[in-house]
C-alpha cells in the first residue's frame, strides 16, 4: 500500500523500451461509439487497445490489462482513483492522457503550459491521438526521470547534512578536529559495513536519545 521503489522500477524500464513500438492503451469513455472509433484508429496505428467502462469495474480492469497509458475524460469522477494508484499500491504510475469535451483549446493549452497533466488531448481526433500519446509518454518519462533525480538530490543533501552534523558533534564532544572526525566516521563505517551517512545518522540518534 505504500510507495516503495522495488521491482516496479524494473518493470518501468521494460515498459519504456517497448513503449515506442506498441503501447497497451486503455480507453475509458462513456460514449461507446466514440470509444470504438478512437479505438479502431489506435489499433490501426499498431497499438493494443482495451476499452473500459468508467466506475466500479475500472480498477479491476486496470489490474487485469496493466495498460501503459490510460486515456480518460478530464471531467471523469474516476480521476482521483487513477492518481492514487501510485500512492496506494506498488503499481507503476501510469501516464494519463486526458481529453475534454466541454473545454476549449484555451483551457487545454493553459493546462499544458502550467504542466497540469502534461498529457492532454482536446476533442478526440483519432488521427491526432497517436502522436499525442507518443508525446505524452515521452513527457511522462522525462518527468519521472526528473522527479527521481530530484528525490536523489534531496536524499544526497540530507545525507551530507547528517554527516556534517555528526562531525560537528564529534568535534564538540570529543575535541576532534574536522579531519579526525571525518576519519572516525569513515573507519566506523568500514568496520560496520555501513555508509558514512548511516553511521552519522546512528551517532545523531544516540546523541538525541542521551540528551532527551
Amino acid at each position: 500500500m505504500s510507495l516503495r521503489k522495488t521491482d516496479s522500477d524494473l518493470r518501468f524500464e521494460s515498459m519504456t523500451t517497448q513503449a515506442s513500438k506498441s503501447y497497451r492503451v486503455m480507453l475509458v469513455d462513456e460514449v461507446p461509439d466514440r470509444a470504438r472509433w478512437v479505438g479502431d484508429a489506435l489499433a490501426h496505428a499498431g497499438m493494443q487497445v482495451a476499452i473500459a467502462e468508467a466506475g466500479r469495474t475500472l480498477l479491476k480492469r486496470i489490474a487485469d490489462v496493466e495498460p501503459d497509458v490510460i486515456v480518460i475524460d478530464i471531467e471523469s469522477p474516476d480521476r482521483d482513483m487513477l492518481e492514487s494508484l501510485s500512492v496506494l499500491s506498488t503499481h507503476q504510475p501510469t501516464p494519463i492522457v486526458m481529453f475534454s469535451e466541454k473545454r476549449g483549446t484555451d483551457f487545454i493549452n493553459a493546462a499544458i503550459a502550467a504542466g497540469v497533466t502534461a498529457y492532454m488531448v482536446g476533442e478526440i481526433d483519432p488521427s491526432k491521438v497517436k502522436p499525442i500519446i507518443d508525446a505524452a509518454m515521452a513527457q511522462f518519462q522525462a518527468f519521472q526521470g526528473m522527479r527521481q533525480a530530484l528525490d536523489e538530490t534531496q536524499e544526497q543533501l540530507r545525507q551530507r547534512r547528517s554527516i556534517e552534523k555528526a562531525k560537528l558533534l564529534l568535534i564538540q564532544s570529543h575535541g576532534f578536529d574536522e579531519a579526525r572526525a571525518h576519519q572516525f566516521l569513515r573507519e566506523l563505517a568500514m568496520q560496520r559495513r555501513l555508509s558514512m551517512s548511516e553511521v552519522a545518522a546512528g551517532i545523531l540518534e544516540s546523541a538525541q536519545a542521551d540528551s532527551g
Partner: protein, 362 residues
C-alpha cells in the same frame, strides 16, 4: 482590494456547507466579493483548475495543499491554506457480510450488539485468528491523500490489523461506495456523510467507528489557493476568509442545521434529501439499521480555533500521516518547512484579528 470577482470550486459534500451558506446568507457580497460557485467532480480537476487559474480558490482535502506542493500527488504546484473549514465528519463502515463472518468465526450470536467497543473488540479478536480473517481485506477511501486514509490506518492499527500487510486500500468516489460495498468489491470504507448512513439504512453495512472516536481533532476540508494567487491577491484572500468564517460561525449554531440542510439540498448544490443532510450536519446517526439514532459528540465541526486554524499540531499530524501512507520516514526539516509554507497559521491569525470587528447581518 485586488480582485473582487471570484470563481470558487467545491465538491458537492456535506462539508461544503461554508461555501454554500456564505453565498446564501450574502456573506461574500457583504465583504465586497462577487463569487460564483462551481460544482466539480474530482479533487484532481479542482487542483488542475486552480493551477491554471481557471478558479481563484477551492475547497480542498486538508492534506492536499502540502502533498501537491511536494509533488507526490499527480503534479507539483505550490498550494496553501490560510483557513480550515471543517473538522471530522467521517465514518468508517464495514460490510454486514464481514461483520457476520467475524461473529460466526468467534461463535457469537448474529444479533450481537454492534456498539463501537464491540466492533473494535470483535475485529481485534478476529484479526488474531487467521482462520477467521484468512483473506486480505479491501477498504476504500475517497482519495489517496485524505484525512480518511490516515484515519482508516489509525483505526485499523487500533484494532490490531496491519494496514499494509492485511489490508488493500483503494480509492472509490463517494457516490460509488455503497454500491461497491453491497457488491462485495470492498469490505469497508471511510467517507463523509451521508455515505455511511445510506449503507446502514440499506442494511449492507454497519458503522465501525465515527471519525471523532478515532481522531478527535481531525482536520477535514480547507480553503485552498495557489501560492501565486495569494501573493497577487492578499487582500481578496483575507476578505474571502472572513466571509467564510462568518458562514462557519453561523453553521456552528445547532438551530441553523435545518435551514442549512434545506439550502444545500437544492439541485444546484447537493441534490440530496434535506432530512439526510440535517442528520449529518447535526451528527444524529445510527450505527446499525436496527439501532436508535444517537447524538455523536463532536461529529462535524465548522467553527472553533482547532477547526479554523490550519496550522499547529493538527497540520503536523496530517504530514506525519501522509509520510506513513507513503512509507517514508519523516525528515524533520522538510516537515517543518512544509508545515510553515502550506498550513498558514499566520494568515488565519490575521483573519481572526479582524473577524470580530467585521459584523455581518445574520
Amino acid at each position: 482590494m485586488n480582485k473582487t470577482d471570484l470563481d470558487i470550486a467545491y465538491l458537492p459534500l456535506v462539508d461544503s456547507a461554508p461555501f454554500i451558506l456564505a453565498e446564501h446568507l450574502g456573506y461574500f457580497s457583504q465583504m465586497g466579493l462577487k463569487v460564483t460557485l462551481h460544482k466539480e467532480v474530482s479533487w484532481a480537476l479542482v487542483r488542475d483548475k486552480l493551477a491554471i487559474g481557471a478558479r481563484d480558490a477551492a475547497q480542498m482535502l486538508a492534506p492536499l495543499p502540502a502533498m501537491t506542493t511536494l509533488g507526490v500527488s499527480g503534479m507539483r504546484v505550490p498550494l496553501l491554506t490560510g483557513l480550515g473549514l471543517s473538522k471530522n465528519g467521517n465514518g468508517i463502515t464495514i460490510s454486514a457480510v464481514l461483520w457476520q463472518q467475524m461473529l460466526a468465526g468467534l461463535q457469537l450470536a448474529e444479533d450481537y450488539p454492534a456498539s463501537a467497543a464491540n466492533v473494535t473488540d470483535v475485529i481485534v479478536r478476529a484479526a488474531r485468528q487467521t482462520e477467521i480473517l484468512s483473506r486480505q481485506l479491501t477498504f476504500a477511501v475517497v482519495h489517496g491523500f485524505s484525512t480518511h486514509a490516515i484515519l482508516l490506518r489509525r483505526w485499523l492499527r487500533s484494532a490490531g490489523v496491519d494496514p499494509d500487510a492485511q489490508v488493500k486500500m483503494i480509492v472509490v468516489p463517494p457516490s460509488q461506495m455503497v454500491d461497491s460495498l453491497s457488491a462485495g468489491v470492498i469490505d469497508g470504507y471511510c467517507v463523509g456523510e451521508p455515505w455511511s448512513t445510506l449503507a446502514i439504512k440499506l442494511g449492507v453495512g454497519i458503522a465501525a467507528a465515527w471519525g471523532a472516536e478515532v481522531w478527535a481533532e481531525a482536520p477535514e476540508k480547507v480553503l485552498c489557493v495557489t501560492e501565486q494567487w495569494h501573493e497577487q491577491n492578499p487582500a481578496t484572500h483575507h476578505a474571502l476568509r472572513i466571509a467564510l468564517m462568518h458562514a462557519c460561525g453561523w453553521l456552528s449554531r445547532p438551530d441553523n442545521a435545518l435551514e442549512a440542510a434545506q439550502v444545500m439540498s437544492a439541485k444546484q448544490y447537493l441534490d440530496i434529501e434535506d432530512s439526510v443532510l440535517e442528520r449529518a450536519l447535526s451528527g444524529h446517526l445510527a450505527r446499525t439499521r436496527n439501532s436508535a439514532v444517537e447524538q455523536v459528540p463532536n461529529f462535524l465541526s465548522f467553527f472553533d480555533n482547532q477547526t479554523n486554524d490550519p496550522g499547529g499540531d493538527s497540520a503536523l499530524q496530517i504530514l506525519d500521516g501522509c509520510n506513513d501512507l507513503l512509507g517514508r520516514s519523516v525528515d524533520p526539516v522538510q516537515r517543518h518547512m512544509l508545515a510553515r509554507r502550506c498550513f498558514r497559521s499566520d494568515l488565519f491569525h490575521h483573519t481572526l484579528q479582524e473577524f470580530d470587528d467585521s459584523a455581518v447581518d445574520p
